[in-house]
Symmetry: C2
Subunit: 222 residues, 2 copies
């Protein structure tokens, strides 16, 4: 057992070291990096597609897409007009700092304003792994139900921003906005909760403003 | 590295041994056991609630609920009229055979016809862990998008039945039934795909029939 614990500690230490290395590279390049996590189908890729379409003339954007299999999401993001690199994890349930280090070799970070990392669709495991990002964004959606923050508290507890997508489906579900806000704020009292629909565009401006603000304040060129 | 591999092999071997032990207990008791997995909010609990309400007069049912936190789901299932035991995994991303062994100590298995295990909401990790079940059911839902089978192939590849929930939301989404069926059948050519809505009740009878058939044929009292 002691051996197993020492081995696990060594793996975690290596992962933390790589994440620190990444954070240093991001800051030296002055690029704002957001790590998006959420359930499969919450709309992480849709959010990045819409973000790319609306901000690409204003900010220099790029994305990294994490999926078990296929390059569908990277192709969607590229079609929206920004560079995107796909990582396939095989069966892996989250992105690792090592994978991000390999992926950014293809980008000129200093020529970017924002880099979005879309993690594997999973509301549990990605929250445990630092990728050197400035901010973590949890993307959830109304059809998932309003109780997800208290049933999957780890992801929300480590978030810097919560996006609630698919508000156009509110009337078709039993989702209570009041309960959802209360559950999120019970874990993170002052976190921004951005309610929007990538499909209709409602609420997108507040998200774009959050990105603009973070890009100005979170990424410090050193 | 060799040490790490040997340790991992020992953990897997122990997990497999416990799963075999569980399978033996389930067969000796003649209880049919289904392991339900899917994304957070796909509707696994809603499916079990509706199943409990509709079958509890006909079959002796019980359930085990796996969640990171809260006993909300167990209370929902109990309110639907069947015994249910909640497992909280802390941060754990899947249920383990050890947790199921502990949980079934509270049930008289021989007095049950069907035991439903609702795994942690996660379309990745639970597929790697055998719980001694007869069948695995992947529950997905239309708002998640039709491409989930090819993006999360491991869960679907190990499934014995696929439930597509929330077909009442089909018109409000871009979901293509034809694409979804093609993606599922590309992985599992003859698997049943049961399209239903726990909310409206549409399609529920085919699911109940699947449960009845499995209960008769899959669980062999030895």
């Amino acid at each position: 057992m002691a051996k197993r614990i020492r081995l696990a500690q060594r793996v975690v230490a290596e992962s933390d070291r790589l994440a620190k290395d990444l954070a240093g590279r991001f800051n030296r390049a002055g690029v704002f990096v957001a790590n998006l996590m959420g359930s499969p189908g919450a709309g992480k890729t849709a959010l990045l597609e819409e973000t790319a379409r609306r901000l690409k003339g204003e900010l220099r954007l790029a994305a990294i897409e994490g999926d078990l299999a296929t390059d569908r999401d990277a192709r969607r993001i590229q079609s929206a007009g920004i560079p995107c690199r796909q990582i396939n994890t095989g069966g892996g349930c989250h992105l690792s700092a090592r994978q991000i280090l390999d992926a950014i070799a293809e980008f000129d970070l200093a020529a970017l304003d924002c880099l979005f990392i879309e993690n594997v669709g999973n509301l549990v495991c990605p929250a445990e792994f630092d990728l050197g990002e400035h901010c973590r964004v949890v993307v959830s959606s109304t059809p998932e139900g309003d109780d997800k923050p208290i049933k999957y508290p780890v992801a929300f507890h480590h978030a810097d921003c919560v996006v609630l997508n698919k508000i156009d489906l509110l009337a078709a579900t039993d989702f209570s906005l009041e309960a959802y806000r209360r559950f999120v704020r019970g874990l993170r009292p002052r976190i921004p909760i951005l309610e929007l629909s990538c499909r209709t565009g409602e609420g997108m401006e507040a998200w774009l403003d959050w990105v603009r603000t973070q890009r100005r304040t979170a990424a410090v060129r050193v």
